[in-house]
């Protein structure tokens, strides 16, 4: 998708102004953490599991040269064709080439963050291919011409009535009114079933790749990914190099974390491992399978201080627990990846210049790090990116000057305390009659939304010292 993270602040202001959408986000912000917490509490050794999977993933990344070579060897042995793509454009071209080699017109697509990242749908549609998203949430936003607002529930920003109106507008429904959610789902089921049966190419992602046997793991509740993987004669799996894990049990150990952190389930309906094309005795399944492994700067991240970000399992727990995400929603981030994980990943996959607002979209509350099943220190990584912005002079000059001044003062504590003491005293004198300030120099951001209360006259340190003297 086209990235517009550079307008994050404008996007966020706009999102905050839409009350109906804000109400949906408030509800999700309350509801989704409850589901996750209940599932985690129900699993006796969640912390031990989290720690185990982190160590396995760290081991996999430390030895990725070995596991990537093993995976490729096994995937080829299973009868796949394995492709490597340096960039998103490379992946899109590889997929289009495969489709064109088969004169394919109809493409059934399962949910895949990688293809969202590369903008595959638009690319294939520009080549006149009929690409249909088959995950219900993705199908809804494709019909609406929108982008996902959440990495797990892409259409959760839409009400049932909005989806109903969309289907009434886009589908030939005759007399049917789609009065309830069951009817809406039934309508999508019917439309998509026809597409599955006629599709010439299926495209899916992979939640994990298993080095020891070349299988790829696909996790869904709807079963749409499995239909894409089994019905069309050609299957293309688009994934990225850091998804590789050593053994099948490592993939299912990660699954235990994923389902609980993403949806609060103890198990998804369909967890499938696919090895390659149909075997001689098989009566169905694809005749040809391709695996496209995307880099898109992941190997740069692997060699950087942000390596831990490659352990992200795309569960969305950090989004669900983030006060910024819950306030402004996913679209404000202007990127495929949103929330805390997106605010780290987007600058690393694109550039800090394009997405410098994202690492600042953080209150440093630390909830994301607490719930991240991969134990990624997201607030630390966000802080490091902010530091990098300052070092690379991407931050606005007035902020850099302010930070420099603050650093200098912080290194001179006596002067700092004296200056803040004088400042607070002056503010107290100036505002004691009215009780608050409508405007303050250097604090326009604060006072544009609310009044600044008049300080009581003493700084925290002055009050603390006074109390200690008394006792």
């Amino acid at each position: 998708m086209e990235q517009h993270s550079d307008t994050f602040l404008e996007n966020a202001s706009k999102a905050l102004g839409n009350k109906a959408q804000a109400d949906i986000r408030d509800l999700l912000g309350l509801f989704t953490p409850l589901l996750r917490n209940a599932a985690v509490d129900n699993f006796e050794h969640f912390e031990a599991l989290r720690h185990h999977v982190k160590r396995v993933r760290q081991h996999s990344l430390d030895n990725l040269d070995h596991y990537l070579a093993t995976y490729e060897q096994q995937a080829l042995k299973n009868g796949n064709r394995v492709h490597f793509a340096n960039s998103g454009d490379d992946l899109n071209s590889i997929v289009l080439d495969i489709c064109q080699q088969h004169n394919a017109q109809r493409i059934a697509k399962g949910k895949s963050m990688i293809t969202e990242e590369t903008g595959l749908n638009d690319f294939l549609q520009r080549a006149n291919l009929d690409v249909m998203e088959t995950d219900l949430g993705e199908y809804i936003i494709q019909q609406a011409g929108e982008t996902p607002s959440h990495i797990v529930g892409p259409a959760l920003h839409k009400s049932a009535d909005e989806v109903r109106q969309l289907f009434l507008q886009k589908h030939d429904l005759g007399e049917r009114e789609l009065d309830n959610t069951e009817d809406i789902v039934g309508e999508a089921r019917q439309i998509l079933r026809e597409h599955f049966l006629k599709a010439q190419v299926g495209i899916i992602g992979a939640n994990a790749l298993v080095a020891e046997d070349g299988y790829s793991m696909l996790v869904t509740n709807e079963g749409n990914g499995d239909l894409c993987a089994n019905l069309p004669p050609v299957l293309i799996i688009c994934t990225s190099v850091e998804r590789i894990l050593p053994r099948a049990e490592d993939a299912t150990a990660m699954l235990r974390l994923l389902v609980r952190s993403a949806t609060g389930q103890s198990q998804t309906c369909y967890t499938s491992f696919y090895s390659g094309p149909r075997r001689e005795q098989d009566v169905d399944g694809p005749l040809e399978t391709h695996i496209v492994l995307l880099d898109n700067r992941r190997t740069e991240i692997l060699a950087s201080d942000y390596r831990e970000m490659l352990q992200c399992i795309r569960c969305g727990a950090c989004l669900n627990h983030c006060p910024i995400y819950n306030s402004v929603g996913g679209h404000a981030y202007g990127s495929v990846y949103m929330g805390p994980m997106g605010s780290v990943l987007t600058p690393l996959l694109s550039s800090l210049e394009e997405s410098n607002a994202l690492p600042n979209a953080c209150t440093s509350c630390g909830r994301c790090a607490e719930v991240c099943p991969a134990e990624i220190p997201l607030p630390d990584l966000l802080r490091d990116l902010r530091h990098q912005e300052t070092v690379e002079k991407i931050t606005a000059p007035r902020w850099r000057i302010g930070l420099k001044l603050h650093t200098w003062l912080a290194r001179n504590p006596r002067l700092y305390h004296w200056l803040t003491g004088v400042g607070i005293h002056l503010l107290h004198l100036a505002g004691r009659k009215r009780g608050s300030f409508r405007k303050l120099p250097l604090a326009g951001g604060w006072t544009s939304q609310r009044d600044f209360p008049t300080p009581q006259g003493k700084t925290f340190m002055q009050q603390y010292r006074a109390q200690r003297k008394q006792s």
Binding site: D62, D65, F84, D135, R256, Y270
Partner: protein
């Protein structure tokens, strides 16, 4: 493009990797031990599996032998679809069932659009997940798992394992003897979605109902107990 990309990716990965040899890597991996699994909901393995099947929005039945399994299937499909027809894969275990005893009319092969009921014979079941495990192939075409309105799955109680680690151990034993299957499918419930307002709806794309028949010497109390524990 893909050859030069491959070389570049391998080169960059190699530069960022630890450079350990295969033996060292294998030793490091072994030293990481095994992951903790979810605790079973009760002490008994069969009951635990059945509880999790019911929690996954499935239904369950028991059959101590093949005749009972056929009768249970017949009753179930007649009750739901007023029919005795179903589609089953070319699994020798299903072919050997005494279908005539209960008047069931199976068609062996891959499910065609419009056929509502499919029957699979699972290779394994996993108590931790309340899931059955099928392999794609002649004995169980993928369409039978995915395109039916109602998916019935039989599984031997001897093939029930406690957790996913035990499942992979058994799968490796099988694939040491047979060719790796194209697909290994862990199925834990009917197809579902919560993509509209978080409301759970069954039958998103695949089966709307999922019915498991556990075969073998399983006490009838296991199912009764599972129903009482899993009931909301």
């Amino acid at each position: 493009m893909t050859d030069s990309s491959r070389a570049g990716i391998f080169s960059r990965v190699r530069q960022a990797s630890a450079g350990a040899d295969s033996a060292e890597i294998a030793a490091q991996l072994r030293s990481l031990g095994r992951a903790p699994a979810a605790a079973l909901p009760c002490a008994d393995l069969y009951t635990s599996f059945l509880i999790n099947v019911l929690k996954n929005h499935g239904t369950a039945d028991l059959a101590s032998n093949r005749s009972e399994a056929v009768t249970a299937t017949s009753k179930y499909i007649y009750q739901h679809y007023n029919t005795h027809r179903l589609v089953a894969g070319n699994d020798p275990r299903l072919a050997a069932m005494p279908w005539r005893e209960a008047g069931v009319l199976p068609r062996f092969g891959a499910l065609e659009p419009g056929e509502p009921v499919s029957l699979s014979y699972a290779r394994l079941a996993v108590a931790e997940l309340g899931a059955v495990v099928t392999f794609t192939g002649k004995a169980n075409p993928a369409a039978n798992n995915l395109l039916a309105e109602n998916h019935i799955v039989m599984v031997d109680c001897m093939d029930l394992v406690v957790d996913m680690e035990a499942a992979w151990e058994r799968i490796r034993q099988i694939t040491d003897q047979e060719q790796r299957p194209r697909g290994v499918n862990f199925i834990a419930g009917p197809s579902s979605t919560a993509d509209i307002e978080g409301k759970q709806i069954y039958g998103a794309h695949g089966p709307r109902q999922w019915h498991v028949i556990l075969l073998g010497d399983v006490p009838a109390t296991a199912l009764q107990e599972a129903r009482s524990i899993a009931a909301p």
